[in-house]
């Protein structure tokens, strides 16, 4: 009898959750529904890539799966949603996604709208060149060179501010367009966060190489609703656990390792 009551109570609670799921925090909802919606990139090999078969793969995806598991949701309960750069804050604020793992740099401006847990990875801006290129060795050897990045992106802006007088900047809509142009020789280097470049290099073995030292720091965080402090802590704990139990390193090694990218030591989680 008491079991029946308990089941009825659970069902009622679940119904209530369905109606005003916005008022419950992510941890409570994940525990109850065994479902989460996660925003990732669909077009970044090695990080977040939607494959032909329809299953996303990459480092960001592994981090997202790990966090979901820590929240009590297995892979079947995850709904993947594309989170394009310009839409990320909106997706979180409207509640279209529970959290976002998509090369999402933690910045003060973004913190005004969303909360971050992390960083789960620290990337630096890097350069990708053709494997046979010898004259570009770093960001000081870019005089008269043609660089490519994605329109509107922070790396492109940095190049404009710091190098545009000596280097020429080509902006395309997608990184893959830059990779095409690099491959056929009409540009000399692609620039953006080094780990993104490593993903492309790993996908096209032998064609490209990463050069130079990182010349900026991007802290990738997991974005979620601004006032959900409990979930932020839970996600931060999940990240720390992933970094210490070896899953973090293993994922990076299989996703971007083949490019020759040096896997760094995990950086401490500061947003929690």
């Amino acid at each position: 009898m008491s079991a029946v009551v308990a089941v009825a109570g659970l069902t009622l609670a679940a119904c209530g959750g369905g109606e005003d799921s916005g008022s419950k925090n992510l941890v409570a909802r994940a525990k109850e529904d065994k479902k989460v919606t996660i925003g990732i990139k669909f077009d970044q090999p090695g990080l977040g890539l939607q494959t032909q078969a329809g299953k996303p793969e990459g480092f960001d995806v592994d981090v997202a799966k790990y966090i979901a598991k820590e929240l009590g949701v297995d892979e079947a309960g995850i709904t993947w949603k594309e989170a394009q750069s310009a839409e990320r804050e909106n997706l979180i604020e409207k509640g279209d996604v529970d959290f976002i793992v998509a090369t999402y740099s933690i910045t003060d401006k973004r913190k005004e709208k969303v909360a971050f847990a992390g960083p789960y990875f620290v990337a630096g801006q890097g350069l990708l060149v053709r494997a046979d290129n010898t004259d570009i060795t770093g960001n000081t050897a870019l005089n008269g060179k043609k660089l490519c990045s994605v329109k509107g992106s922070t790396p492109a802006q940095k190049i404009k501010d710091e190098f545009s007088k000596e280097a020429q900047l080509q902006e395309f809509g997608k990184y893959s367009d830059c990779i095409t142009a690099l491959e056929n020789g009409s540009i000399d280097a692609v620039t953006t966060d080094d780990v993104i470049l490593a993903g492309f290099a790993a996908k096209n073995p032998g064609k490209f190489k990463l050069v130079g030292d990182a010349f900026s720091k991007e802290n990738y965080g997991v974005g979620l609703k601004k006032d959900d402090a409990e979930s932020r802590t839970a996600i931060a704990n999940a990240i720390t656990k992933m970094q210490t139990d070896g899953a973090w390193k293993a994922s990076l090694e299989s996703n971007v390792g083949p490019s020759g990218y040096k896997i760094p030591e995990p950086s401490p989680v500061t947003e929690k």
């Binding site: 750069s85 310009a86 401006k109 509107g152 922070t154 492109a156 080509q170 902006e171 095409t180 009409s186």
Partner: protein
């Protein structure tokens, strides 16, 4: 609230939009007129080319066309429109490729507008002109086209307005016009996205509305009363 707008060169971006639109409009008018001439010409091969060109290009998405100009023509086939060793090669080349793409595309709409204008000229006029001994190009240049143009000012205004808005597509190959600046501002000012959209929407309204009003007035003034 509006203070961040001063950090960006919004006027410069719209100036680029205007340059793209004006150069593409002039080019499209010329190439579109030639195409219209081909489509009504007595030579079958020219009619065939005109029809094929208009139907293929008009039905190709503009984004595909512009992107093809950049990745296909310039980067793969090495068909560049600027000196490759110039320090501003990428900027110049992209701008000219974009204008080329807009001309190729918009001229098909100019051609079709103009052809409908040619159809408003009574057949008797062309017959009379031929009876006077004028050749095809003379009939077209002296008798038909001047009347045709006067009757299609209003549709051409629509084509021009569409062109002004279409220049935003040039951002896919990195031409620094209004919508490229908009993506940069959306990336940086995520807390004021609605305001950013409003500023650019207003900018385009300021560009297109006077064009429509002015050309609408001109169309009424010069229309051929039959």
């Amino acid at each position: 609230m509006f203070d961040f707008l001063g950090e960006y060169d919004i006027l410069g971006a719209f100036w680029m939009t205007i340059q793209l639109a004006v150069l593409s409009a002039v080019g499209s008018l010329i190439w579109g007129t030639i195409l219209a001439g081909m489509r009504v010409s007595p030579v079958p091969i020219m009619r065939g080319f005109g029809t094929a060109y208009v139907n293929v290009v008009r039905n190709t998405p503009l984004t595909v066309l512009i992107f093809f100009c950049s990745i296909g023509l310039a980067s793969t086939l090495n068909f560049n429109l600027a000196a490759t060793d110039s320090p501003s090669f990428i900027v110049d080349n992209n701008f000219r490729l974009a204008v080329l793409g807009f001309v190729l595309y918009t001229s098909t709409f100019v051609c079709e507008s103009l052809r409908s204008g040619i159809n408003t000229v009574p057949v008797g006029q062309a017959e009379a002109a031929r009876a006077l001994g004028l050749g095809f190009t003379q009939v077209l240049r002296i008798i038909v086209l001047p009347q045709a143009f006067r009757s299609v000012i209003a549709p051409l205004a629509s084509v021009l307005i569409a062109l002004i808005k279409n220049t935003t597509v040039a951002s896919v190959i990195g031409v620094a016009e209004a919508s490229l600046l908009m993506s940069e501002m959306i990336e940086n000012e995520s807390d004021a996205i609605i305001l950013v959209f409003a500023v650019f929407a207003l900018g385009f309204v300021l560009l297109t509305l006077p064009v429509g009003l002015l050309l609408g007035w001109v169309a009424k003034k010069v229309a051929v009363k039959r």
